[in-house]
């Protein structure tokens, strides 16, 4: 995905992926699209305990990529547009704080310059994710 606005289609696909991960038993404790200040690119950030406390991500990407490959088509999010962070990461905590202040069922547009430990241009925060079903 290039620069510019985050399109509705990607927000919808992100929600589909989060729901699918939950169905597959993958916990996602926070989720948002961030346009990072450093490279002005949108990324779908998913906070999950699959990422180790030390920050190792490879096994987590392997699991998430398996789910992505099974997503019904069309599905427009490339795995390179997804960043996984730990469930206890500063980003996850910042998103959960926003959930507590702005509860609701819809994604929250966020215009601050920082979210957690990430400098951003813009963000769209998904509402709290349902607990995995298995």
């Amino acid at each position: 995905m290039g620069q510019g606005s985050l399109v509705e289609m990607l927000i919808d696909d992100g929600k589909r992926l989060i729901d699918r991960l939950s169905e597959e038993g993958v916990a996602v404790t926070a989720a948002c699209w961030l346009k990072e200040a450093e490279d002005s690119q949108w990324f779908l950030y998913l906070a999950t305990p699959l990422v180790s406390e030390e920050g190792a991500t490879k096994a987590a990407y392997r699991r998430v990529n398996t789910v992505i490959r099974q997503m019904p088509q069309p599905f427009w999010i490339d795995s390179l547009e997804i960043k996984l962070v730990g469930a206890g990461s500063p980003l996850a905590r910042a998103v959960q704080d926003l959930h507590s202040r702005y509860p609701g069922p819809s994604p929250i547009p966020y215009r601050g310059s920082q979210l957690g430990d990430i400098n951003i241009e813009a963000a769209s925060i998904y509402p709290p994710v349902a607990t995995p079903v298995r």
């Binding site: 991500t57 490879k58 990529n65 490959r69």
Partner: protein, 53 residues
Amino acid sequence: MAADPELQDNWDVVKDWKESSRYLRTAKIQAEELSEAIIDKRHGVLSWVKVRW
């Protein structure tokens, strides 16, 4: 990349690195994971890049 899931996983690890990462303290396992994702001879990012550039 779709034909090589291991390469795809390695790319995902490598793409998380950014210029400002140089100034962060990183756990050993995270550094080893990044290094391995780059230099792995069969599925590493460096081998992939060498073939294409």
